[in-house]
Symmetry: C2
Subunit: 209 residues, 2 copies
């Protein structure tokens, strides 16, 4: 891996775990056992690292989710795989992450907003339309509205004013939110299939540990 | 009705229909066929009218919802009656209403926030706990989390950046949101009862027209 990519990967790891605000250039240098001078050879300032770290993280996430949507047999399998992926992504994620971006790094925040409002929302709309067509999701639901609601909800859970970290663990709360969202869209047939897939995912993950 | 109460009632009507920002003291005076001078005998300024209008509106809403929660046979009947009430409340409500309060009338906004975070949230928590106990709502749900989510969702739909009025009609969108929320919490038994109550509510409302 090139040194520039190593710096970005190290930054992604630190930001995810500790939030953006509390990680300094010194921390990144220390984490990678390089000098701060080396970092500045590749990046103008911390803001540039943050933007590129967000881009790199979203690129990886996009690849991961694209694979789910390409390889699933039906809309319910998509959901069950997204569920597993989210559980992994939100584990150890610092709840300050999005707030720090919004407040201190408008460039990186805009990268996130665009990804959320275009890529993620589209994937949800497609998933919901597919599920309705397959008879697994209720035909009364409005895909465009629910996709918009869904991306906003995920972001809402990061809001510490509304969901203080001492009462609402980020990962648990995101999983509860996802569970409620899924139950709000499935038909009885879809619900039974969802439970079946979740059991299967659980077995795969237990065997891979 | 005393003149002061008439002014408040008139203001509630105008604010609900047109939003707060676009209704002037002149509009209120004209609506009630009184002079502006008369209004200023009872209120210091528009901000004071707005605060008292919000208080009066929430007091009426509280009475209406309290009756629902006192007179219902089970948690599902509560929900179906809340649904009818919401359909009526959001009809003809201007989507700018909450935004105007937040931006221009912090006192009135705080009255709303307190009502939302204490009274409404508590009623939802109680409804969810009751439904779980009665076997109509899934035992896996977390009442505290879902009540917090619910009150924030209702407010979110007023956000014109996220749900632009030309694509998302306020009443329709609120009803879709409510439908998704209910389906996310009910068991199969609860869902069947909910449908039954909705049919009953529909008949009552048709007969009362």
């Amino acid at each position: 891996m090139e040194i520039k990519d190593r710096i970005i990967a190290g930054a992604v790891e630190l930001f995810t775990r500790y939030g953006v605000r509390s990680v300094s250039m010194d921390d990144i240098a220390r984490q990678l056992s390089i000098s701060k001078k080396t970092i500045y050879q590749y990046f103008k300032d911390k803001d540039e690292i943050v933007t590129m770290a967000v881009q790199a993280h979203l690129k990886r996430e996009r690849k991961e989710y694209d694979e789910i949507f390409e390889c699933s047999h039906d809309a319910v399998e998509e959901l069950s795989k997204v569920c597993t992926c989210m559980r992994k992504d939100f584990k150890d994620m610092n709840p300050s992450l999005l707030f720090d971006l919004q407040k201190y790094h408008p460039n990186a925040w805009n990268v996130w907003l665009q990804f959320k409002n275009e890529h993620i929302k589209n994937q949800i709309v497609n998933n919901l339309k597919r599920g309705i067509k397959e008879g697994y999701f209720r035909k009364e639901i409005d895909p465009e509205f629910l996709a918009t609601l869904r991306v906003e909800q995920v972001q809402l859970v990061f809001d510490k004013q509304i969901f203080p970290a001492d009462r609402f663990d980020l990962k648990d709360t995101q999983m509860k939110l996802f569970d409620h969202f899924v139950h709000g869209v499935v038909t009885e047939k879809g619900k039974m299939l969802y439970m079946k897939y979740l059991e299967k995912e659980k077995t795969i993950n237990q065997n891979s540990i």
